[in-house]
Symmetry: C2
Subunit: 390 residues, 2 copies
Amino acid sequence: MNKHSSVGLVEKKFFHFAHPPNEMVFECGKKLGPLTLAYETYGELNRDKTNAVLVLHALTGDSHAAGYYSENDNKPGWWDLMIGPGKGIDTNKYFVICSNVLGGCRGSTGPSSIDPDTGRPYSLNFPAITIGDMVQAQKYLIQHLGIEQLLAVVGGSMGGMQALEWSVRFPDMVRAAIPIATTTKHSSMAIAFNEVARQAIMKDPNWNNGDYYENHHPSHGQAVARMIGHITYLSDTALKIKFGRTHQKETKFTYNMETDFQVGEYLAYQGQKFVDRFDANSLLYLTKASDHFELADKYGQGSLAEAFSHARCKYLVVSFTSDWLYPTRQSRTMVQAMKKNNLYVNFCEILIDYGHDSFLVENPRLFSLISGFLDKEHRSITKQGENNAL
Amino acid sequence: MNKHSSVGLVEKKFFHFAHPPNEMVFECGKKLGPLTLAYETYGELNRDKTNAVLVLHALTGDSHAAGYYSENDNKPGWWDLMIGPGKGIDTNKYFVICSNVLGGCRGSTGPSSIDPDTGRPYSLNFPAITIGDMVQAQKYLIQHLGIEQLLAVVGGSMGGMQALEWSVRFPDMVRAAIPIATTTKHSSMAIAFNEVARQAIMKDPNWNNGDYYENHHPSHGQAVARMIGHITYLSDTALKIKFGRTHQKETKFTYNMETDFQVGEYLAYQGQKFVDRFDANSLLYLTKASDHFELADKYGQGSLAEAFSHARCKYLVVSFTSDWLYPTRQSRTMVQAMKKNNLYVNFCEILIDYGHDSFLVENPRLFSLISGFLDKEHRSITKQGENNAL
């Protein structure tokens, strides 16, 4: 374990909330509460509370974005490459917050949580979740932490959708937003892959209409769902570099139904790992939330430029050349809509082979982009403070 | 039913064969026999037997490439747009043959066929199938029909692989080859999608290690497998044009686990339709055959140029701009290897949005390319014949 440039030991905290008392109103109209968000923080909140950065995780991520839970913990948080002292999101300068999304299964209230009325998991009685609901819950957390305005909201993929929603929904609370490898709405193909993933789970007899917590889980379907998703997170080239047509065994074609290719073994491993750490119903809820995210419809009556007219923050938009799930043209579309509102926008398409998941790998270009953008915005506050003091 | 430009009523025929007597030796080393190929023919074989065109079907196709089975039949063969009087493959000029591949489930011997030794389906006791085995069986059929040399072998996708195999394996029997939307080897990503499709089937409890014929079939897994495949046969743009983000109902987000998007409903329909017409084990066998097809390894000790040094035919290679499963760069690679051997090669990348399945849709450019290429080759024989007669 190399903890030299790490935030070190961290702990998962829990925020219990209800607005109005005892419930939160979801966008679907249902009410539920009190609710819990699992979250972690790294770095120190400054006196003026102007250095808070909210990190937003992707589909199956969680609040554990950086650091280690114990001395013996071999695996750091999911964005430890980016978050830490001297890193892209520098914990010497910023107070970093990351919470598990509502509807998730990593400490925040979701379909696998116990319904106090029945003593059993909510299962499909849990209200449908939207990106807006996730952001609403995060807002309660940020207010609970005594922060009036975030320096920045940062996230990739579904995390980027949350960043966009934050910037449009709560413009006074966001100075800067960094949506990475994301979109203002899923393409038909992105929806198609999610539909198949959901079908893989729901066709598993063990799914049992979502009521499986006391029996066998729909592990087979869930593994297949993950395998499908995993391919879409990588690129043709990434797979070629990593696996090519390498075979499992010397004999190449085993002439039976075993997995002959390393890429098959790798996907099977990813599928199984996912089953062990994630709840199938949460995957259904969160993919639905992503599929239905449509910023123009929600905030601009169909016009994306109109939707961004609500925003007041500065943007850093990042896409990756090899991301075919949320291709660069979708980022360009949002950048154009931002610019129509004379918003300050930095846009960068990074040349990288790794596919949609490029934001999760070592990437000096992305690190320096984020670092520079945050630093500039942070300095502008300090300068503003000094000017005000004169 | 519009039969005006159709070959009209056709019938499925069966060819029973065994070489050596009572068996065929498969590339895996196993022997089996006698075997059956289901096939159809359209047009008339000329006196010199120089006008035969062998059409090779894709993964889940069959011998029914053109025409109708009865007056009440509403659905013509799978390539009726291309094959018929005055069409791209003109049945007024050519004798067209199409057979169901070995290992299939549409009349040719495959895993769902009855093993005479047990009186039960072969299931996984059926020998592993290769593209080479398919072509070997087709060769017996062609010889049975009294044809020494084919004017052309034509096919898309897995049919294109067979066309390539034919041209390299039996160079004296092929004057021209038209591989369409195909590759000399699957990319890592193409293998990955097939691995997931196979896992979807094999993880279905009803699959029962392939022994399901007398019980419930692995329909759930098979439907998911087809949905995955179907997405890869289309393009992002094709899906956008066809479905976009159109919802099933006016309410858009139903806030439950129902399919909200038309693309989801469409994929579910495709999945179900496939379960009704295809055998799950055949899909396993045929995707394995495609994944293991590697022309350079098999015929060139790793060199594609060396592999094509065995060929003597003329080639028309066709790719589609929107085919991301077998992208144009794979066609370019094969064209370069052909040209290194000074073979006559026409190559065309067709600008079309429909994705990998573009060869199955109305496409005047593809029709005229094939028609012109065949016509030229056919005329050259006639001319040769005239010259010989002088």
